[in-house]
Amino acid sequence: MSDATPPIGTGPLARREARLAWGLLFPTIFAVAAVVVLPLIAVFWISFKPVELGDLRPPEAIVREDLRGNPEAAGDEATLRYRLRNSSAEAGVTGVVLTDSWTPGLEPVAIDPRCNLDGAAFRCDFGDWEGGHRETLTIPVIVGQAFFDNGAEVDDTPAEIAFRSQSVLTSGEFTLDNFRAIFDGNEFWSVLGVTLFYTVFGTIGALVMGLFAAMLLNHSFKGQGILRGLYLFPYVAPVIAVAFAWILLFDPFSGSANALLVQMGVTDQAINFFGQRPLALLTVTAFEIWRYFPLSFLFILARMQSIDTDMYEAADMDGASPFQKFWYLSLPMLLGILSVLFLLRFIWTFNKFDDIFLLTGGNAGTRTLTVNVYEQAFAVSNIGAGAAVAVVIFGCLILFSFFFFRFISREEGL
């Protein structure tokens, strides 16, 4: 009897399983690559490009054709006119060639040297055009009887124009100006500071509030289900709806919150919650806490309900007081979920764009990095600088996820 040896390498069954796995994963990998990985590469590429919003459309050569001179009878003179231009004021187009089929019944008097007429095929070779180039090509013609017989118009067959152009997006031109622009001056550091403030306090606030809310609902009583549903409202409602509700509520002129505060004698005049530094930053942070405490509350509550009650009974036997039970039993048990939640929420708050964009538009000292991407790309219409900010965000993200994975491997709860 020969020795039984364990198989070396992967057997056919395992290979088939792996093939099936990749087959099942392929659609997802493909879609994610197309919409996440490609754009990420594109962001890196664009961040080194001097590209503005207007450059998104590559330069084009454009032609319009018409017949001037109102010929009325055979033998009249007229002018066939091609108006040509480069659509871009800066970028050039190369190898411009005009082709058109010649309208029957028109007899050319003189033809521009760049053009030739071969039977019905009319062709002009213009070579290269600078940015902003425009010219009018005129060809005097004698109109023959055939033109009227056919009843044709000159632009029945549209003139076609072929050209090569290079968009700045695909050219070999690179620059570090975008990064220079965003790191220049104090603005970047204030934006980073605002982002960190918003992220740190938004995250901690949401966690603390979530913990408090979870403790409230960690009892069974009548109406617990209703309250739990109610406390999830801020998270479930569309952000745009609740953001506008907050804006109206805290409006300095006709907002209910201000009217209430004045009436209660807390303040003499209306407070501009979203319009003045540094209050605006506090208000948007409060909004962030308000909107996301439900999420932390759900996770913490789920963890709380899975804690073994035996421990509490034992603690009761030992005479632990309620606060001691919370501090020495509940909190250590919740530490795992709290740290994972902290990391997750930290990253997602850092990435948050909609909330601040809707509430203040990044004004009054609330511009975070993500809002800055939008500001640079669309308000200043410097796409390259926007992409550069996006690259910075992505760099921070890599840093965070490094920490995240060190933790998550220990906390397999999530």
């Binding site: 796995a21 099942l24 997802t28 996440v36 509700a245 006709s254 991407v373 996006a390 998550i408």
Partner: protein
Amino acid sequence: MRYLRFGYVTAPLLGALWMFVIAATVSVAMSFATGAAFRPWLPGALGLGAVLGLAAFWLPRAWALSALGAILAGALMSVGIGPVVTGAGISALSFVLTALALGIGTGWPLALFLRDLPVGVLTRHQFEGAVIRFLMGFGYIFFTAIVVIPFYVMVMTSLKNQAQLIQNPLDFSIDLSQGWGLFRSYVELVRDFRFGEYMWTSFYISVLTVLITLAFAIPGAYAVARLRFRGQAAFSRSILLIYMVPMIVLALPIYIAFSMTGLRNSITGIVMIYPVTTIPVALYMLQGYFRGLPAEVEEAGLMDGLSRLQVIWKITLPLSLPALASVSLYVFMIAWNEFLLAFMLLDDPSKFTLTRGIASLNSSEIPRQHLMAGSVIATVPIMALFLGLEKFMTKGLTAGSVKG
């Protein structure tokens, strides 16, 4: 701390603090309900609260303490030194209501907080128990208030008109005699601003997103959860990593690519993008659930001659219907609430989703009750769906770590 641990110190202290909380709550509630002037008066609230706290020793019954509170509050308010000070022209009804609310709101919970509390020295248990009950009571009021007020303002604003809103921003009382006229903002939105269409667009985009997401995520999640292949661990990590990439970073190149290919301003473009933002989440949630299913059932199926795909279709999917429901609900919510991409990619009013439609209402020419009516239209369906299926939702949210 030790000086606080006497019944005759703790009880009036908690009573005073609680009375102030209730006075503030009642003032806010009455102001929002009637638009008239109510405000809490600190000395009055603290004084009456302390008295009630002490009275709790002799009147431990909740109803008795409430009655005493209501009578005292009413009496003090009528001479202007009550916990709540009212402006001129308050109707008798709202006066009585305020006094009653103050009495019940303070007396009832105080009786619970201070239950079985001795007058003299307190043990640590008794003291902390009372403080914790106080904090919990405060918590219920606080959280309910901060959640309810914005939504209340949203709904009530949508039912009023511009002139009323400017005149008294606090007056949310509704004139019921208008009948259906109350809803004219909604009628105008549907009639003049095409909100009916937007709702339909949002709905079918969300449903398509759910279907496409599931079609991609189910096989992917099954492969990650069940099949052995090299790179499995790395793969399940990179899913998490991908769903941490901020949307705004991707939105920029997507905007450029869509502008160049003409997909901008088209529903097709939106339906292509939305599922990809939700696939990682769905995949992550589903693979967690699949892992929890017993592998033996599937192996039995394999032994009986089913292929892997048949196993997924005939065994795994029927077993994971609850998970599929919560994932679908969650993906639907993301797609329905999505704002950034719709805002950047859609410019043509005939193709707006609801959120994009609301954003277009945010201009100074359009009265703000329209803006709020639009917000209500966007919020109500998702809320109804969510409350109806709350069990699935909460389970789904906690099953996979969920993005916000």
